[in-house]
Structure formats: C-alpha cells, structure tokens
C-alpha cells in the first residue's frame, strides 16, 4: 500500500511502474448539478493530478457521465467550482473548454460519419490551427507549413493507434470497436492536457477491451497525457487507473487507490447491493 500517502503529498511522486505523477491540474469543488428536481450530482469534490489515470466508477445512473459533462462544459453545475491549472474556471461553452486543452470521447460515439478517418482525426487539430482563413485558402507559406505539421501529428496518432489501414475509409462504414478507436484518435490529435473518456470499452468484446486498455496505458505512458475515464467494468478499471472516484446516486462514496476502493464497505454495498433491515 505504497500509494496510501499519496493524497497528502503536494507535489509529484513516482508510481510503482515508474511513471511520474505531477501536482493537481484540475479540481472539482463541491459540484452540485440539478435537472429540475433531480439532483444528478450532490456536492462532489475531487481532483485530477497531472499524468495520472483517474477513473470515475459507479452503478448505472450514478451521475458519472454528468460529471464528465460538467468537466467538458456540456453541463453547467448549479453550485460548485471547477479549478483548472490553478485558476477558477468561469462558466464556459463546450468548444471553449476544448480550446483550453480538454478533449473527450462520448459514450455513444460522436464522430463525423461522412468524413474519412483521416479527416476526423484532422478535425482534432482544429484547436491548434492559427493561420487565418484567407492564407489557408491560398495555401501559402505559414498556412502550408501549418497544414503539414498538423498532418504529421495526425498521422503519428493514427500510427500509434494502429488504424493506418482504414485512414481513407468513411467512418460510417467502420464497425463499432474501430469507431471507438477513431474517436480516441481524434481526441488525442488535439494533444490535450486532459483526456476525458466516457466508457471507452462499453459494448466491446474481451479482445477489443484488452486492445483499448493497452492503448489507454500507452497513451498515458508515451505522451504523459492525463486521463480521466468512466468505466463500468470493475476489473478493467482496477488494472488501469492510479486513483478511483466511486459515485452512487449522485454522491461520492469512495476515493482513493484501486485497492483502497476495493475494500471500502460502502463501495461493496453499492455494487453488490445490501440488505436493508
């Protein structure tokens, strides 16, 4: 249980497998989100550290996706603060959050179905492009250089996720598992500070899940990308993540290393059910 003291450390530490986890990059403070009379998230606080894989788990309807949507700006919480890179974040539109370096994938996959895989990945570069549209129309000088640079990064991501073979294929033709991977590629192409994954392994078979787990670990290892992910599959989560937040009915019932969480009585009750007598 070497990680137990993690929370008390202000700065970086090194994990068992040799990765460096930095200081806090994002902090959620007392977030409450309501839809009409329903409280989807009740007063939840947690932090995400630089370079770690942070999981949010919980049974169906626990508010995990809502939490991710708060981070990515799709929902605006009624109460609480989001702190990002040491500053309080004002209420933002999703596209502004994306421009700040927070990329995400969706539970139900939101890809540009009519475009090729390469074009999809290139849209991930949109936030990084600077040159004006007039220059780009004529494709000269700076614009050309920029296009080539962006293309190189896109190709690197495509290589990394092993989807070279389908680069030119329209996304609509791809099977589900590959679509998930393309969506990850698009998010990764933005070179995000934080990568949010909403159930990256939902609906996959065992082999696909193993592939995806490997990619997530590799991304984190290779690029040092901070990852926050939601997942149902307890086994996968425990293998992947450095720290885990557990939610149930909108409340936070556990937070800590996988081992800590696994042995938390409240978490066990939430997952296995408990006799009320």
């Amino acid at each position: 249980m070497e990680r137990d003291s993690v929370k008390d450390q202000a700065d970086s530490y090194v994990t068992n497998d040799g990765r460096t986890i930095g200081p806090t990059v994002m902090e959620m403070k007392n977030i409450t989100l309501r839809f009409g009379g329903v409280e989807a998230i009740k007063d939840i606080s947690f932090d995400i550290r630089e370079g770690e894989i942070r999981a949010i788990i919980g049974p169906n309807g626990a508010g995990k996706s809502s939490m991710l949507n708060v981070i990515s700006g799709f929902y605006v919480p009624q109460e609480g603060e989001v702190w990002y890179k040491g500053a309080k974040r004002p209420p933002m539109k999703p596209y502004q959050v994306a421009q700040q370096g927070i990329a995400r994938t969706f539970q139900n996959i939101a890809l540009f179905e009519g475009m090729s895989v390469l074009d999809n990945v290139m849209t991930g570069r949109l936030t990084q492009m600077k040159t004006g549209m007039l220059a780009q129309s004529f494709w000269k000088g700076a614009a050309e250089r920029e296009e080539i640079e962006n293309r190189e990064i896109a190709e690197k991501v495509i290589d990394f996720l092993e989807i070279q073979a389908i680069r030119k294929t329209p996304v609509a033709r791809l099977p589900y598992g590959l679509k998930k991977r393309v969506e990850l590629a698009r998010a990764l192409a933005a070179e995000p500070t934080i990568l949010l994954l909403d159930e990256p392994m939902a609906g996959m078979n065992v082999e696909e899940k193993e592939d995806m787990s490997r990619f997530i670990l590799d991304v984190n290892d290779e690029f040092g990308t901070t990852i926050a992910l939601i997942e149902h599959d307890m086994g996968v989560v425990m293998d992947l993540s450095d720290r885990v937040v557990v939610m149930d009915y909108g409340r936070k019932i556990g937070d800590g290393s996988p081992d800590e969480v696994r042995n938390n009585q409240e978490v066990i009750d939430a997952y296995l059910g408990v006799a009320h007598d």
Binding site: S72, F74, K93, P94, Y95, Q96, A98, Q99, A103, R104, F106, A110, L111, F112, E113, G114, M115, D119, M122, T123, G124, L126, T127, M129, T131, M133, Q136, S137, W139, E147, P170, A172, R173, R186, A187, A190
Partner: protein, 328 residues
C-alpha cells in the same frame, strides 16, 4: 456546317449559360444545407434583397424612404450621390453579413436541435419577412442594375464562328461573365471547404453538432459564417440575374428553379449544384427546341420538374449527393 446542327449547338451553348445562373442560386442552398441541415427557402429572396440593396446603395436611395415620408411628412428620396459599383458591392456585402448575424442571433439560435421541417418553416417565414423588408426599404418598382458588366452579343465569337463555319453563334457577353464568375466562385468555395480551418470546422458542424463542440468548434460562429457565405453567393446571383432581367420581385421565384437543380446535383455537393444547373439549363433549352413545337411550346416551365421527379425515383441522393450508407 448544316444550319440545323449549328442552330442546335447554339441552343446548347445558351442552355449552358442559363444553367450557370440556375447553378449560382442552387449554390447558396447547398452551402447552408451542408453546414446546418437547413433547407433555406429564403435563398432566392436573399438574392433579390442583395440586388435591391446594391441598386439602392449605388443610386443613393434613402432606405425606408416611403415609410419615413409617410410618418414624418417629409419628401426625402435620394441622398443625391452615386456610389461606384465596386464600393457599393462591398457595402452590400456588409449588409448581407449583418443580415446573416441577425438571422442566426434572432431566429436559428433558438431553433438548435429542432426537426428539419421546423427549420424549413422558419426559412419560409424568413423569406416573406425579407421580401417585405426589401419592399419597405427600397420600394417595389422594377429597377435596372448596371454595375458595368459587358452586355449584348459577343462580336468576337460571332465573327470567329461565322468565318469558321459559315454560321455566327449568338452568345451574350453577360452569360460569359456569369460563367467565369461561377467557375471562380465554385473553385473558391471548394478550396475553402477542403483546405481551411473554418472550412473543415464547417464540414464538422454539418456532420455532428456534439462532436464539433468537443473538438472546439463554435456552432454560432460557423453558422454566421455560413449564412454570410450564402449571402455572398446570393449577392453574386442577384447581380447576374439583376443585370440580365432587371431587379424585380419575380427574381425570388428563380429560387424555385433551383429545386430541380438540387435534386439532380444532390443537396450536399457544391460541384453537383453546378453540374445540375448545367444539365437543367441545357436540357430545358434543347427539349424546348426539339419537342416544344410538337406540344405547343412552353415546355421550359415544367421540363426541369419532371426531370427532378424522375431522379427522385431512381437516384434520390442526386448525382453527387453523399451516398446513403446504411448498416443493418
């Protein structure tokens, strides 16, 4: 060259030229449809409005003159200046951009995520609103639009073909200009959509709103951009049609001819709008020439629509439309 053949070729060429003008209107439809899924019924009226505004600005007409006079009892009609065509076109473009902003800000911002039929209804409302505002602003009399484009028979082509074949082809200079402008416009728009950041963002928005947001694209900005582009295309179409047949309210009816063009070319394809326009233009001229006399003429009124119907039955996505991929 036999007279009959030469005449057929001339009809063919004139059909091409007419088709270019249809294509110009159809282009505006395609732009908005591609980026927002809205079928913009107001595109024809936008062309009319742009042409009216252009004439009004060039001639220094006081906007809302009749209204002002009726309310204040004054007698103002003209500022008394004439603005050169180039400057007037720039000013009209500014007006079209303001219009694009207003359309997005006051209408479509509140309709995000609604059914296509509701968005379509909104554009019908917009069409009548714009027509009314155009009338109120600039008056309803027919105006001539002269931005200095060459008009009349192209003497060079006439002489050249006469010397070469013994038959002088009649091609209008204005039609030639319109073709060149349309070609430049299409190349520009395709390059914009394919190679620029904003173009890529535009295609992204057209495909999936949520995904576009997640890669950092502002929907609002893209929609204003797209309506501005459509306004620009409307302005070009308005100038060409206005120069050809005068600026009058029947101009908004050309929009209806753009419908069969779109069904042929596909609602989502910029080159499709051009090819569709050309096919309709040539088709209806040749059909009128060959079959017209046998059925009492006036086939131009219905030929395009019948052709569109046939296409709807056999190839609903049009010649260039995105293929409908279905996974079962």
């Amino acid at each position: 060259m036999p007279e009959q053949l030469a005449f057929t070729i001339e009809v063919f060429l004139n059909g091409l030229m007419a088709g270019v003008l249809y294509a110009l209107v159809a282009l505006g439809f395609v732009l908005i449809y591609k980026a927002s899924g809205i079928f913009n019924y107001a595109q024809g009226v936008m062309a009319l409005f742009a042409a009216l505004t252009l004439v009004g600005i060039m001639e220094g007409q006081v906007p809302f003159g009749h209204l002002i006079n009726a309310i204040l009892g004054t007698e103002v009609h003209h500022f008394g200046w004439h603005i050169p065509a180039f400057l007037a076109i720039v000013l009209t473009m500014v007006v079209m951009i303001v219009l694009a902003y207003c359309v997005q800000r006051f209408v479509f911002r509140y309709l995000v995520g609604q059914e296509p039929i509701i968005l379509f209804m909104a554009t019908i409302g917009l069409a009548y609103f714009l027509e009314g505002v155009g009338d109120l602003m600039w008056g309803s009399e027919i105006k001539t639009l002269d931005v200095g484009l060459p008009q009349g028979i192209n003497v060079w082509i006439d002489e050249f073909t006469y010397n070469a074949t013994g038959y002088g082809f009649f091609i209008d200079n204005l039609d030639i200009v319109a073709s060149i402008v349309a070609a430049v416009l299409v190349i520009g728009l395709v390059m914009f959509a394919q190679y620029t950041k904003q173009g890529r963002a535009m295609r992204a928005v057209a495909d999936d709103h949520q995904a576009a947001l997640s890669v950092g694209v502002s929907l609002n900005f893209i929609w204003i951009l797209v309506w501005s582009l459509a306004g620009f295309v409307a302005l070009v179409a308005g100038i060409m049609w206005g120069a050809k047949s005068g600026v009058q309210f029947s101009l908004s009816l050309i929009a209806l001819k753009a419908l069969p063009v779109l069904m042929l070319g596909g609602f989502t394809s910029i080159p499709g709008a051009i090819v569709g326009g050309l096919i309709i233009g040539v088709g209806e001229k040749l059909f009128e020439f060959a079959v017209g006399p046998m059925v009492g003429g006036a086939t131009e009124n219905w030929f395009a629509y019948v052709l569109a119907l046939i296409f709807l039955v056999f190839r609903p996505q049009g010649l260039f439309g995105e293929k409908i991929i279905e996974r079962v």
